[in-house]
């Protein structure tokens, strides 16, 4: 885990430095190509002001109670994300998703039974996200952020009216990388721009650590998890 975070941090730093360096040389005259003195200026690039994405991922729940009922297998997580650029590439960021899992109830002695339980999770997040983006054509864009989470949960015993639902608050920190797809198919990218107003399309991967237990409340469900998420992100 620590190694993974260290590698991710290094990747972000190196990418940022390289992008910064690239930014610094863009538009400057080189020795081979002196800058024309009275050339018309390039059209001004309008930076995207919002993002929209959809993703699939997996929760790996950290609570031992969860494992007893629903096993420690990753839980599929699907969702949508939106972002509104506030200052430069700092975004007000929100996300809504859905997960469902099914497991077996246990006896007081911890033995598994034939009673089946199903839990639905609808996590919603609101926070800030910063993309280390220094040019519009930057191939790899690291990002990181943090958010407050509200998880709506609904757990029910199958073939029974017994159910419990409610909300859990928490927070999460995340980091990831997004890969610009526009260069792979410039014509499609141009079409996306003209037809839908989408400036950039990215494939992204995100690692997230969430603590969702009403700020350390001992009693009650704990949805703290590690998450791996991948999806498509559109800037417009």
């Amino acid at each position: 885990m620590k190694k993974f975070l260290l590698a991710l941090a290094l990747l972000i730093v190196f990418t940022a430095i390289s992008a910064w360096a690239q930014e610094g040389t863009e538009g400057q005259p080189t020795e081979q190509q002196p800058a024309p003195s009275a050339e018309p200026q390039e059209p001004k690039i309008v930076k995207p002001h919002a993002t929209f994405g959809f993703f699939a991922g997996a929760h790996v729940m950290q609570d031992s109670h969860w494992e007893k009922i629903y096993s420690n297998a990753p839980v599929l997580y699907l969702g949508l994300t939106i972002g509104l650029k506030l200052i430069a590439d700092l975004e007000l960021w929100g996300e809504a998703g859905y997960s469902v899992d099914e497991g077996s109830g246990i006896t007081p002695q911890g033995q598994s039974t034939s009673e089946k339980y199903r839990i639905h999770l609808v996590p919603a997040s609101l926070g800030l996200l910063y993309r280390l983006k220094f040019s519009e054509n930057q191939f790899l864009v690291p990002f990181l952020g943090g958010a407050a989470n509200l998880y709506y949960f609904y757990e029910g015993r199958l073939e029974s009216s017994e159910k419990t639902d409610g909300g859990k608050l928490g927070y999460s920190g995340f980091a990831g990388l997004q890969l610009l797809l526009d260069n792979a198919d410039p014509r499609a990218a141009a079409s996306m721009k003209t037809d839908f107003g989408i400036d950039n399309t990215y494939l992204f991967y995100e690692f997230r650590y969430s603590v969702v237990n009403d700020w350390g409340k001992k009693e009650g469900m704990d949805f703290s998890s590690l998450m791996h998420i991948g999806g498509l992100l559109f800037e417009f």
Binding site: H65, K68, T113, G220
Partner: protein, 358 residues
């Protein structure tokens, strides 16, 4: 030439007219045509001819009466010759060899094959033999434990005509060799007293309303369309027990957050959320359920939240913007301030965009 063709046609028509062969099934044994595995049926038949034609016969299972469309029966008397004005015979249909697709109706064809003017012709008669085996002994019968209930599972029976399943439960074990389902005399299940009779639809059943901590002994038996009851299953035992899901395990009470605790009875936020409840939430099943939970768990949560100053701040920060947004929708605030604010923000944003483009 014309005379030759005419003569040939007259000969052909005359030949067909005289070649009148009929097949009749005179009886079957057993007379109701129903047998089970290990048994056989005898089909008695008669072939009549009007001009003493000769030919061969064959008895087929299935098909459509055309020679070779079905399977020729396995017994030696399933094929042979006929000649003369009347030929009688019988053919044995052996259940295990000839009726191999499980219980159900099988059509048996007795087919006479003969030549007319060098052309092969055939006629047939048919009857139905029904294979009706008693249901098999239930296989894979197992019982899982639940909270006040037991989960019964069994393998899908091979018999196609299973109509009912009889379920026996009792708090006593019955292991005598001649045990029947009626020996199980359990009471108290919501499904009814033992034995319970259910229509066969699936291979699972939940026995409800049982006592946790009591050991139950169970068997099942199948009944088919012919009201035949099969061999009883092996006995299984299981004990319903208290069962926990994640909510029970963690002490989770559920419920929603309570604005009254945070803001007071007459606060704008409280009124707004109350209006949301009355105008929208109680109108739909799922949100009505949430409201019910609110009343169930509200007091406990209210006291908890009020004991945590940090929590109160956080929830206020969540509820205030929510109330502001929904207030005009639920009628606790006039829509005009929102419209004016939106217009002002929109104008400023528009002016900024125009200014930046210049």
């Amino acid at each position: 030439m014309k005379r030759l063709i005419l003569a040939a046609l007259i000969t052909l028509v005359a030949g067909l007219a005289f070649a009148d062969v009929t097949v009749e099934i005179t009886s079957t044994d057993p007379s109701d045509g129903t047998i089970s595995n290990g048994e056989s049926a005898k089909i008695n038949w008669k072939i009549d001819t009007t001009a003493s034609e000769s030919g061969t016969y064959q008895v087929e299972v299935g098909g459509d009466g055309t020679p070779g469309s079905g399977e020729i029966a396995s017994s030696d008397d399933a094929t042979g010759d006929f000649s003369g004005s009347e030929t009688t015979g019988s053919t044995t249909i052996v259940a295990k060899d000839d009726l191999t697709d499980g219980d159900g109706d099988y059509t048996i064809y007795v087919i006479a094959i003969f030549d007319v003017q060098g052309e092969q012709n055939s006629v047939f008669a048919s009857t139905t033999i029904k294979l009706d085996n008693p249901p098999q002994k239930p296989e894979g019968f197992s019982v899982g434990s639940g909270e006040g209930r037991l989960f019964l599972n069994w393998n899908a029976p091979e018999d196609r005509d299973i109509k009912k399943v009889h379920i026996g439960y009792d708090t006593k074990s019955h292991t005598n060799a001649d045990v029947t389902i009626d020996d199980y005399k359990g009471t108290g299940a919501k499904n009814g007293n033992s034995p319970i009779e259910i229509e066969y639809k699936e291979n699972t059943y939940i026995l409800k309303g049982l006592k946790n901590g009591t050991k139950y002994y169970l068997r099942i038996v199948f009944e088919d369309e012919g009201d035949k009851v099969g061999e009883i299953s092996n006995e299984r035992s299981q004990m319903p027990q208290e069962v926990s899901g994640l909510a029970d395990l963690t002490g989770e009470k559920g419920g929603c957050f309570i604005a009254t605790t945070l803001f007071g009875e007459d606060h704008f936020v409280t009124k707004t959320l109350r209006a949301l409840r009355d105008k929208f939430l109680i109108k739909f099943d799922i949100t009505r359920a949430l409201v019910k939970l609110y009343y169930r768990y509200g007091p406990a949560l209210a006291s908890y939240i009020s004991s945590k100053p940090a929590l109160k701040v956080v929830f206020k920060a969540l509820f205030i913007p929510l109330a502001i947004v929904i207030a005009p929708m639920v009628g606790t605030a006039s829509a005009w301030p929102y419209i004016i604010s939106a217009a002002m923000i929109g104008s400023i944003a528009f002016a900024l965009v125009v200014w930046r483009r210049r």
